[in-house]
């Protein structure tokens, strides 16, 4: 699991790195080309330094053939 981006009180993490390796060790560049962004953006998303737009999140999940929730997870930082 990659790093996480903190949004308000919630931390968003993702499983892109694991999904890439499960999909025949797909490279960051191949994923970037498939969803129409730069390799650096995929790297930043994986590292949890950038939270993608909803559209990009859907495009990434479609490449892996899974739901958005399987790619991105949102965890509460503290119980409310």
């Amino acid at each position: 699991m990659g790093g996480g981006v903190k949004v308000a009180d919630e931390k968003v993490t993702n499983t892109i790195r694991r999904l890439r390796f499960e999909k025949s060790e797909m490279s960051q560049q191949s994923l970037a080309d498939a969803v129409g962004v730069t390799r650096q953006t995929i790297n930043a998303i994986e590292a949890g330094k950038y939270l993608p737009s909803l559209g990009l999140a859907f495009r990434i999940s479609r490449v892996f053939g899974v739901s958005v929730e399987e790619v991105f997870q949102c965890k509460d930082e503290e119980k409310r």
């Binding site: 970037a32 962004v37 730069t38």
Partner: protein
């Protein structure tokens, strides 16, 4: 490294060289220079600065948006960083312009002489602030996916 990150470094290096060369030129001129002559010289130099800054922005727009080997050159994250940095640059541009207008420009100033100085110096400050804001968001060495 992202093209926007590279462009920010190009901006800083080019404007740094232009600034140093301009200072050297003024220092190497035969002295003494009258205040009027010095103002005319600075106004002339800053007019060239404006052209260089304009050229850098045109080159940046063409280069960052261009596709290369079917790889995209600029995406939603780059645009977000660019817009945020443009805000920072615009505030600096306006701040320096107003500071110069109120505190540096004399009351009997000639518009023809002082307008290039006002525009050139504020555009210079705005471009440097814009480029630093880009590098800050990507990381100075581009480690944050720059």
């Amino acid at each position: 490294m992202s093209r926007l990150w590279k462009m920010a470094w190009i901006n800083i290096v080019v404007l740094g060289i232009v600034f140093i060369l301009s200072v050297l030129l003024i220092m190497l001129l035969p002295k003494p220079l009258s205040r009027q002559k010095l103002t005319e010289l600075i106004a002339g130099l800053l007019s060239y600065w404006l052209l260089i800054i304009l050229g850098l922005f045109v080159f940046s727009e063409v280069w960052t948006k261009r596709r290369h080997n079917d790889h995209i050159g600029c995406d939603e994250r780059d645009l977000l960083i660019q817009v945020r940095s443009l805000h920072v640059g615009a505030w600096f541009l306006m701040g320096v312009f107003l500071y110069m207008w109120w505190l540096v420009v004399p009351e009997d100033a000639l518009v023809k002489l002082w307008m290039p100085i006002l525009l050139g110096s504020s555009a210079f400050a705005g471009t440097i602030a814009y480029s630093i804001a880009i590098l800050f968001q990507y990381g100075w060495r581009g480690k944050s996916g720059g």
